[in-house]
């Protein structure tokens, strides 16, 4: 049991190092997913299956899809076919594949050997739910308000407004400082005084 814990932790750390050393965003995302799955296996070994499932679903599922969306939106039309051809070469996905297969073997082993409980035994979803909706009720409400705020803020920032196009000047030239034709206005400056 302890061995699985250490192997999963090592996989998570190695995948994080791999994420930091990649140059391509999508490769780094791949390593990050493997790292999060490794942390999920660590949670499972520690006797927290509920949190392990949430980690796999929310982090490795939802948040990574969000990242992937943004990466794809930023990559629009920029040598898309060539980069895609490069991504499919086998040297890229072997590293994450090896780490993920180690995790897969561990999960199969754990599923066959029954549930784990390193430390002081298993804490199931029932105890977590009782604690969550008992003494931590205020925290749940605060988290819901935070999520609502995040939703509204992300929508407000993400929607494309019909804004006046801002003219790009070279840095530190006179035109750049004089021009305030875009939506961005220099704070504390008088527009009418600057523009003729």
């Amino acid at each position: 049991m302890e061995l699985t814990f250490y192997i999963a932790g090592a996989v998570a750390v190695l995948a994080t190092v791999g994420m930091l050393t990649r140059l391509n965003l999508v490769h780094a995302l791949l390593y990050l997913v493997v790292s999060l799955l490794g942390v999920a296996v660590v949670f499972f070994v520690l006797g927290a299956p509920f949190v392990a499932a949430l980690e796999a679903i929310v982090y490795a599922g939802a948040i990574m899809v969000l990242f992937l969306f943004v990466v794809m939106m930023l990559n629009v039309g920029r040598l898309a076919a060539e980069t895609e051809k490069q991504w499919l070469t086998p040297g890229i996905w072997t590293g994450p594949l090896i780490l993920a297969s180690i995790l897969m073997i561990e999960v199969v082993y754990l599923a066959r050997g029954g549930s784990a409980g390193l430390g002081a035994g298993e804490l199931g979803p029932k105890e977590v739910g009782i604690a969550l909706f008992g003494p931590y009720m205020i925290g749940v409400e605060l988290a819901s308000m935070l999520l609502l705020g995040g939703l509204v803020g992300a929508y407000h920032l993400g929607c494309r407004k019909a804004e006046k196009p801002e003219i790009q000047h070279d840095a530190d030239t006179h035109e750049r400082w004089a021009d305030t034709s875009g939506d961005l206005v220099l704070a504390g400056t008088d527009r009418s005084a600057r523009t003729p």
């Binding site: 750390v13 994080t16 190092v17 994420m19 930091l20 965003l25 780094a28 995302l29 990050l32 790292s35 999060l36 942390v39 660590v42 949670f43 520690l46 006797g47 927290a48 509920f50 949190v51 949430l54 980690e55 929310v58 982090y59 939802a62 948040i63 969000l66 990242f67 969306f69 943004v70 990466v71 930023l74 430390g119 002081a120 035994g121 804490l123 105890e127 977590v128 604690a131 969550l132 931590y136 925290g139 988290a143 935070l146 999520l147 705020g149 995040g150 939703l151 803020g153 992300a154 929508y155 407000h156 920032l157 993400g158 494309r160 801002e166 840095a171 961005l184 206005v185 220099l186 704070a187």
Partner: protein
């Protein structure tokens, strides 16, 4: 893992990498909470991890929206290039 995330935050100069390093740091903090909760057999650690999860989700949503806006406006994601912006 927290130190790895911090290193990534300091080393990398791409905004998306900075956000991913933030994810790793939050994840490491949550891992510490769950380990402590499992050590003393309390459910509080997992509850706090749930809060961290919610916070990370909303933070990533807002951060990625900001990244999109910045990319539309400046056509770059380099933090060093962005540090010179003056409205």
């Amino acid at each position: 893992m927290f130190s790895l995330g911090l290193t990534g935050l300091l080393v990398r100069r791409n905004l998306i990498f900075v956000l991913m390093s933030l994810e790793v740091m939050l994840n490491a903090a949550g891992l510490a909470f769950v380990v402590a909760g499992s050590r003393w057999h309390q459910a509080d650690g997992q509850v706090v991890f749930l809060f961290i999860l919610a916070m990370a989700a909303s933070e990533v949503a807002v951060g990625l929206a900001l990244v999109l806006q910045i990319y539309r406006r400046f056509k770059t994601l380099d933090v060093d290039a962005l540090s010179a912006m003056r409205g």
